[in-house]
């Protein structure tokens, strides 16, 4: 996502207030704005019109890869690379390999999903700009970047004040 973009940010104290604000901002036709909150707010996705996360697709695909690679690993090593008679069992004793395959599936899926989150949220960041330290504790904010269509400081400031923002400040970069 954008880095080093300036813009305007409004701080709220109430969850429903910031929800309101988000809805309003959206209806005003802003698209690039974002809401910041100490915890996930129920209904904020619609409010900011954020699409459903695409991480599950990653999980599914990598999970499948894990499954297949588990199958290949067990099959190739025990039946192809060096088949050995172990306890009179078949070289490819599938039932005995299932646990391995399962674990690899989970491992691949879980780790790559996390990787996906890192990518999606551009993590990790060293020392990102902070609008207000309390935003991770008990305050909420709406941030509108200056490159957003119809960006107008005065208009926005007025709008947020009306929505009950305790503070509206210009942000050099966020």
């Amino acid at each position: 996502m954008a880095r080093g973009i300036g813009g305007i940010a409004a701080i709220f104290l109430e969850e429903h207030a910031v929800l309101e604000a988000a809805r309003k901002t959206k209806s005003e036709g802003f698209t690039k704005f974002d809401a910041i909150s100490p915890y996930p707010i129920h209904g904020m996705e619609e409010a900011c019109d954020i699409k459903r996360s695409w991480i599950p697709y990653v999980t599914f695909v990598t999970g499948t890869i894990g499954l297949v690679s588990g199958l290949l690993l067990t099959w190739w090593t025990s039946a192809v690379s060096w088949p050995i008679n172990v306890g009179g069992k078949p070289f490819f004793s599938l039932p005995a390999f299932i646990p391995i395959i399962f674990e690899l599936t989970i491992l691949f899926a879980a780790l790559s999903s996390v990787g996906a989150l890192f990518y999606a949220c551009g993590l990790p960041k060293i020392d990102p700009p902070v609008i207000d330290p309390d935003l991770t504790s008990h305050k909420f904010a709406i941030f509108v970047p200056e490159n957003d269509t119809g960006y107008d400081v005065a208009k926005l400031e007025r709008m947020f004040k009306d929505l009950g923002a305790v503070e509206v400040k210009k942000v050099a970069e966020y």
Binding site: I84, N85, V86, G87, G88, K89, P90
Partner: protein
């Protein structure tokens, strides 16, 4: 880098060697004669090894503790290839030096073993053996299959004698003891052979010399001793604990010949043994087991063994009918049987003999009196008569050395004569006349010593200071002797009292011969250059005579005993046995085969009726009676410093590392004692404290104690293990009494834990050892075994080519445990010691399980050798995470030590629990030069790896390669596992299951054969043949149907 390293280390080594060389005394070995050894002396790396390995005293281990682990491991592999270690520093590139021979000894092929025939003599039995050597290093003892008497059989002790050769506690040089005048204190110093010989020869000139030896079975040695006697007017007294004097006296008074007759169990259909433990530790067990087992293979004419047992002996355990008695009843039983036959049934030529009748009449109604089932007693008597001519009654051993030991022998001889066994199953002519040791003579000698009539006493291979009860007064008497010389190979009890210790060679280092039985002579040839500065007993006598310049020419003529021996054979043996061969051929053949001659046939001898009059009915005793018995492990205790034997559990009690007093269940309840509670035995004022072992099947008035323990000066292994029960023997009218003495028991408020390798004795009704009576078997045939329907969802792997398998005939196995020691010797199996045996960490790859069946009052025992079963569906393999144990395409369950990480899961999942884990780095504990006994063909395991029976895979490989090199197919019998070769009963058969003609596949098809835990479908490659008991009953004490062994 590494090179400079190596050089440095190398120089360092050189210095060490130089130092050692300097420290090493000059040796004159009497080994000029042995070609190969002779050449070894010229080849440097062997010298080098000799110095580094052979002479490093265990006391200065730290010399090279730096590269200990490496040095030893490398040694195994590299000495095998005759490569000397130069250094063993960095792991990545250990720079090693290869030092070739200077001249190639023609019979040495590096890494290919040579076998030498020789004879092992333990005081009673001379066994023909082969010694496997590699590059001049004896590694293993095998029976000599072509030997006419022992026929390839060995005993646990014979197998273990190898370790005695490398015993670190052997004396490395002659020794002199300085005594204070009261001889109460001494100070040992080293002395050179020359000085010692000078002093001794001076002393000998004073005369009044006595040579006290153990039984001398070697004719040449006997002749040296007698000629030495002529030289100094020396008297020769032979004594050792097992004199077999009672037998000889019995024979003398009954038939007039002073010898131990030859017993032929292979010809006997009905055997009655009165406390003669002929399968265990009496007389010649290897030979007897061989003979006995022959009569058990063909169930059509299977022999019957009846044992009247006052201890629970191995023979008792194998008996078809075992009757528990106490020593004072032995005579009653023998005469009772005679009475039954002669008087009650009026059978035999003596039926009309009034004198005999009157003697016998005193023993009427024995069975009732002794509380023996009368029916049974009658039947035994009848069986004896019905099998007359092929029945055999024997008695003997310490258990029978009661006050009336000789009467017992007379009674036994009488029985054998009336049953017309004499000349058939008892051979007067082919007996062993060389077992001449005598208690009486010893006691007489002691008198002379006390009266100062003995100036010089030379003691060889006998140990009255330990094995003779102190009441005989030897310890006091010996102080009255001016000079005592002993040839003990170690600083033992006798050496403590001797002025000079002239250490003898180990039998494997020296030449000798043996009279196995009348007419059969064995040769004993050295298989290694004497390791230390020692000298053979015979050469010592010859040297002393030579220095004193006395005695017959022959004695003085030769420089070495070998020359003497060879000449003796030329003059004495060759004429009789030569059969017209030239002496050289004769000699070479004797060396080749290890023996000459054959046992002579005997005919019936006439029984001197008057002998019977000596037999008096002694009054019945009540109260506890002592029984002293030898164990199969330690015998008389002379080889008490061999750890293998201490670790070997007693086949019946399963206890190791101790002796103890066996009491019956009832007695233990009466005395309120448990296993391990300590009691004090008092036998005419001699007291001894012993832990209790509750032994089912003992007579309630018997206290049985093993001899051979409690040595004080045998070495670090044997010292202080157990109690010396020889002390309990007592002197009565000029003879020694061991058993049957009245004994008081006081329960002490102490306990002492015994190390027992098997603590549960019942089969819990499971089908483990299948046992049936002969009658039962004839009726049910294969149905004595409960078979399980088995099916599998998967076909399994095919085994083309070989499929190795093993069959064990439980009907032949006597539990003698020779296989256990043989396996230990072959496979470098560590000894863990009492503490860890108690924690269940013994390492034996093959163990012998013993179960009791029947009532706890008088149970019968069954034995089951258990080794890795090499299952086709091996449970251990499936669970090993690193593929350290997998299956080979010839059906072996491979154990790959260097892949094993030691999860021990395999052991858990093994239903037979035959896998052993190296809990500690046992191999590090092996003390030089014991490591020379390690078999270079078998990997030495480090700590943290699992190990188990491999079916002697190294032997399989060896045989296969030999076959390949001679481009011939491998044939059945080419491969013999260590346990198989050791087994005197031929109970173990190994071979290829895919070869339908092989012995093993035939045994697999036998109707008595079954797989252990068959229903578990591990599909073992080992099968057992059911045990058959010929006790004339309908159903065995353990009937498979009656035990819920099905599922």
């Amino acid at each position: 880098m590494s090179d400079t390293h190596s050089h440095h280390d190398h120089d360092h080594d050189e210095q060490e060697l130089a130092a050692k060389k300097a420290a090493r005394p000059k040796i004159e070995h009497d080994n000029k004669f042995w070609l190969s050894l002779d050449q070894y002396q010229q080849n440097p790396e062997f010298k080098k090894l000799a110095e580094t390995e052979f002479l490093s005293s265990p006391l200065k281990e730290e010399d090279d503790s730096a590269n200990e682990g490496w040095a030893r491991r490398e040694f195994l592999k590299l000495m095998g290839a005759s490569l000397a270690m130069a250094t063993a520093g960095c792991i990545r590139r250990p720079v090693e030096k290869i030092i070739p021979y200077n001249k190639q000894p023609e019979e040495v092929v590096l890494g290919v073993p040579n076998f030498y025939t020789t004879t092992y003599f333990d005081g009673s039995e001379a066994i023909g053996v082969l010694v496997k050597t590699r590059e001049g290093r004896p590694l293993k003892i095998e029976g000599n299959p072509s030997h006419p008497i022992s026929q390839g059989g060995t005993t646990a002790r014979a197998q273990a004698s190898l370790l005695g050769l490398y015993d670190p506690d052997r004396l490395r040089a002659p020794k002199k003891n300085l005594f204070n005048e009261k001889r109460s204190n001494k100070d040992g110093i080293g002395i050179s052979w020359d000085d010692m010989d000078k002093n001794i020869s001076e002393q000998l000139k004073k005369g009044a010399v006595v040579v006290l030896t153990g039984a001398l079975t070697s004719p040449a040695t006997r002749s040296v001793v007698s000629e030495f006697g002529q030289a100094f007017g020396a008297e020769h007294v032979a004594w050792e604990p097992f004199t077999h004097e009672e037998i000889r006296e019995g024979q003398k008074s009954c038939y007039g010949d002073d010898l131990v007759p030859g017993y032929r169990f292979d010809r006997a259909q009905m055997i009655v043994s009165l406390d003669a433990d002929f399968l265990g530790a009496w007389l010649t067990p290897a030979t007897f087991t061989k003979q006995f087992s022959k009569t058990r293979k063909d169930l059509g004419k299977m022999s019957r063994l009846v044992m009247f047992d006052s201890s629970y002996s191995l023979t008792g355990a194998n008996a078809d009918i075992r009757v528990r008695i106490k020593p004072s009843q032995q005579l009653d039983v023998a005469m009772g049987l005679a009475h039954e036959i002669v008087v009650n049934k009026g059978r035999s030529s003596y039926a009309g003999n009034s004198n005999a009748k009157s003697v016998l009449s005193a023993f009427a109604g024995t069975a009732k009196k002794l509380g023996i089932e009368e029916e049974l007693f009658k039947r035994i008597a009848d069986d004896l008569w019905e099998n007359k001519g092929q029945s055999l009654v024997v008695a003997g051993g310490l258990q029978t050395l009661t006050a009336d030991a000789v009467e017992l022998q007379i009674a036994v001889n009488f029985l054998n004569s009336i049953l017309e066994n004499d000349g058939k199953t008892v051979e007067g002519r082919s007996g062993n006349s060389s077992l001449k040791s005598s208690n009486k003579e010893l006691l007489a000698l002691i008198k002379n010593m006390e009266q100062g009539k003995v100036k010089t006493l030379i003691i060889h291979r006998t140990n009255p200071m330990y094995a003779l009860s102190s009441s005989a007064g030897f310890a006091e008497a010996i102080k009255k002797v001016e000079m005592v010389i002993t040839t003990s190979e170690r600083d033992d009890e006798v050496a403590q009292a001797a002025h000079y210790v002239a250490p003898d060679n180990h039998p494997m280092e020296t030449w000798s011969d043996a009279e196995v039985t009348a007419g059969v002579f064995g040769l004993q040839q050295p298989t290694i250059r004497p390791m230390y500065d020692t000298r053979s007993f015979q050469l010592s006598l010859m040297t002393w005579a030579f220095l004193a310049n006395k005695g017959p020419k022959r004695l003085l003529a030769y420089e070495t005993f070998f020359d003497y021996l060879k000449n003796y054979w030329k003059e004495e043996i060759h004429p009789k046995q030569g059969r017209g061969q030239s002496f050289d051929d004769f000699w070479n053949q004797a060396l080749q085969e290890g023996f000459v001659g054959e046992s002579v046939n005997s005919s019936a001898r006439s029984f001197r009726a008057e002998a019977l009059n000596q037999v008096k009915k002694s009054k019945d005793k009540t109260g506890y009676e002592l029984v002293l018995y030898p164990t199969i492990q330690l015998g008389d205790g002379s080889n008490n410093n061999i750890a293998w034997l201490h670790e070997l559990p007693d086949p019946v009690t399963k206890v190791c590392w101790d002796n103890y007093v066996c009491v019956s269940l009832a007695t233990s309840q009466k005395l309120k004692i448990k296993n391990g509670s300590v009691v004090q035995l008092t036998v005419n004022n001699k007291k001894i404290d012993l832990p209790v072992h509750i032994q089912p099947g003992l007579h309630d008035e018997v206290l049985a104690v093993a001899i051979g323990y409690g040595r004080t000066h045998v070495g670090r292994v044997g010292n202080g293990v157990g109690q010396n029960s020889y002390e309990l023997a007592s002197v009565s009218n000029g003879n020694l009494v061991y058993s049957g003495q009245e004994t008081q028991v006081t329960v002490l408020n102490k306990t002492y834990k015994l190390a027992q390798t098997q603590e549960h004795h019942s089969m819990e009704g499971r089908q483990i050892v299948v046992e049936a009576t002969l009658k039962d078997y004839e009726k049910k045939k294969e149905h004595i075994i409960h078979r399980h329907p088995i099916w599998s969802i998967w076909s399994g792997h095919a085994y083309n080519g070989n499929k190795w398998a093993m069959a064990v005939d439980l009907n032949s196995c006597t539990g003698c445990s020779a296989c256990v020691v043989a396996c230990q010797a072959e496979n470098n199996i560590p000894v863990v010691g009492k503490k860890y045996v108690m924690q269940g960490r013994e390492m034996h790859w093959i163990r012998i399980d013993r179960y009791y069946t029947g009532t706890p009052e008088n149970p019968s025992a069954v034995f089951q050798p258990l080794m890795c079963q090499h299952c086709d569906n091996a449970p251990c393999e499936t669970v090993c995470p690193v593929l350290a144990t997998v299956h080979t395409d010839d059906g072996l369950n491979a154990m790959v030590y260097n892949r094993c990480v030691g999860t021990r899961y395999c052991s858990n999942n093994c239903p037979y629990k035959v896998r052993r884990f190296n809990w500690f780095n046992y191999v590090k504990k092996i003390e030089k030069p014991l490591h020379l006994a390690l078999n270079p063909e078998v990997t030495v395991r480090m700590r943290g790896v699992m190990e188990k029976c491999t079916f002697c895979v190294q032997r399989i490989k060896e045989a296969k390669n030999e076959a390949r090199i001679d481009s011939r197919p491998l044939k059945d019998g080419d491969i013999k596992t260590a346990c198989q070769t050791a087994c005197p009963a031929e109970a173990i058969v190994f071979g290829d299951m895919n070869d339908s003609e092989s012995r093993v596949s035939k045994m697999f098809k036998h109707e008595r054969s079954y797989a252990l835990l068959e229903e578990w479908n591990a599909a073992p490659s080992v099968r057992y043949l059911a045990k058959i008991r010929n006790n004339g009953k309908e159903s065995a004490s353990s009937d498979p149907e009656s035990k819920g062994g099905h599922s």
